[in-house]
């Protein structure tokens, strides 16, 4: 069975936008931030404010996203933030390569000012991108995914692959949780850390095998259904394609997206702004 994301039609600015605009905007921000490798807080903070505004404009009910945000906070603060704080890895090399005063020491690991500032930047940077990603499943009609990619110019087959991948994502996430719960009910203990690496990896088999094998069976059913409808023999009709039209607001957003994308490259490679650095006010806090 296919599970859908919790999509709900709402009459908001975000949902009146063309889905193509939203996908392009999302990718432009991510490309603009990650391709020129921007770590400057003066660039990241305004982007964060913009993402937060757009997120709030989507008016997603808190009860719908409560769990998702809980997961994200655990990941961002506990795992990534802590890792960045201790190791300084996962970002620009200058965090660990440049000498920086040690603030304190945990378990024999030096926590430097650079690592602390990097951890803060990393957390805000990740949340900036997450804020743009989360509303997509909640505010974009699942019926329109494939059409949006088709109208963006990809082939029928590639559009359909993207459509299916998006749609299978929540289904497999649910399958995975169900499998984990049912194996636990049978006495399977994931948390029990015992044995060497090989035996610990093998212990994951009861989780992975049922989900993967079920998905191969689902695949055969989907293939049959598509083959019976003669998928791929002729150019496909996308009924919803006519609904997609760029309006005034779309052009504004696309313009903004382009500015952000080009801006990222111009700042980094043209003006030399955007590299990781520790602002003086932050260093002074510790001295």
């Amino acid at each position: 069975m296919l599970v859908t994301w919790k999509y709900r039609p709402r009459n908001t600015f975000i949902q009146r936008l063309d889905p193509r605009t939203r996908l392009l905007f999302f990718f432009c921000v991510i490309f603009g931030l990650t391709l020129p490798d921007i770590w400057d807080y003066r660039v990241i903070l305004p982007l964060f404010a913009m993402s937060l505004t757009l997120y709030l404009l989507a008016r997603i009910e808190w009860k719908d996203v409560k769990r998702v945000w809980l997961f994200i906070f655990v990941l961002v603060f506990m795992i990534v933030g802590l890792n960045a704080l201790l190791s300084g890895r996962g970002g620009p090399a200058s965090v660990t390569n440049t000498a920086s005063p040690v603030v304190f020491e945990v378990l024999g690991i030096d926590v430097t000012i650079a690592k602390i500032w990097f951890a803060l930047t990393q957390v805000v940077r990740m949340i900036t991108m997450t804020l743009l990603a989360i509303p997509i499943p909640y505010t974009m009609d699942p019926n329109i995914y494939g059409t949006a990619f088709r109208k963006l110019g990809s082939s029928d087959k590639v559009s359909f692959t993207m459509d299916l991948a998006f749609r299978f994502l929540p289904t497999f996430a649910r399958d995975f949780t169900i499998t984990m719960d049912s194996q636990r009910a049978r006495g399977y203990e994931l948390e029990k850390v015992k044995g060497g690496i090989a035996s610990r990896l093998r212990k994951l088999a009861p989780l992975i095998i049922p989900v993967v094998m079920q998905s191969t069976v689902t695949g055969e059913e989907v293939i049959d259904a598509m083959d019976l409808r003669a998928f791929g023999t002729n150019p496909r009709t996308w009924i919803k394609a006519d609904d997609l039209r760029y309006k005034f607001a779309d052009y504004i957003m696309l313009g903004l997206a382009l500015i952000l994308l080009v801006g990222g490259f111009v700042l980094r490679f043209g003006l030399g702004i955007g590299e990781f650095f520790i602002p003086d006010f932050f260093t002074n806090l510790f001295l």
Binding site: L75, I127, A165, L169, F176, I209, T216, F231
Partner: protein, 182 residues
């Protein structure tokens, strides 16, 4: 190896490419939360075995799509952003493993399993080499860091996962396939 059926891109490839991508995305995301074994700075991502398996079972296109789209989705839903070179690297990993697909006749036979694992390891090597060394361009790390800091741990971790989990997946798949008469 290069016959038309290896590189065919039809309904099968569309569906399994999508399924592989969604599975790889979900499992990579889940591995943020599941306590995974680690040794030094080598982490073991079991999702990689699923990617290699999809390549082996359904061919290079499925492997590439599963790796490329799956890694992109997994990174996006975890909030990492988009790292094109790691996405392409993951795609290459599945693609190279998929080159063996046409040669696999029996998913339970020892010879076929060994072949699949070897192609899987080569795939891991190619994909991670690509990702590690393009990292020299994207984040300006030096050759040594790329080799010792990125490639070696990623290669060891993914290769170990491939050796241990891919045979288990193949044997389980043989049972499912024979039960359904396909």
């Amino acid at each position: 190896m290069n016959n038309s059926s290896t590189w065919e891109f039809g309904t099968r490839q569309v569906v399994y490419g999508a399924i592989g991508a969604a599975l790889y995305g979900v499992l990579s995301w889940a591995s943020n939360f599941v306590p995974l074994p680690a040794a030094g700075n080598v982490t073991f991502r079991p999702a990689v075995a699923v990617l290699i398996f999809f390549g082996v079972a359904y061919g290079p296109w499925v492997g590439f799509l599963a790796g490329f789209i799956g890694n992109t989705l997994g990174d996006a839903i975890s909030g990492w952003g988009f790292f094109w070179n790691w996405s392409v690297g993951n795609g290459l990993m599945g693609l190279v493993a998929g080159l063996v697909a046409a040669q696999i006749k029996d998913f339970r036979a020892q010879g076929d399993i060994v072949k699949a694992v070897i192609y899987g390891i080569v795939g891991v090597a190619v994909g991670m080499l690509f990702a590690s060394f393009t990292e020299m361009i994207t984040s300006g790390i030096d050759f040594n860091t790329a080799l010792v800091g990125y490639f070696v741990p990623a290669f060891i971790g993914n290769a170990v996962v491939t050796v241990i989990l891919v045979p288990i997946l193949m044997i389980a798949f043989a049972a499912v396939a024979s039960r359904r008469g396909r």
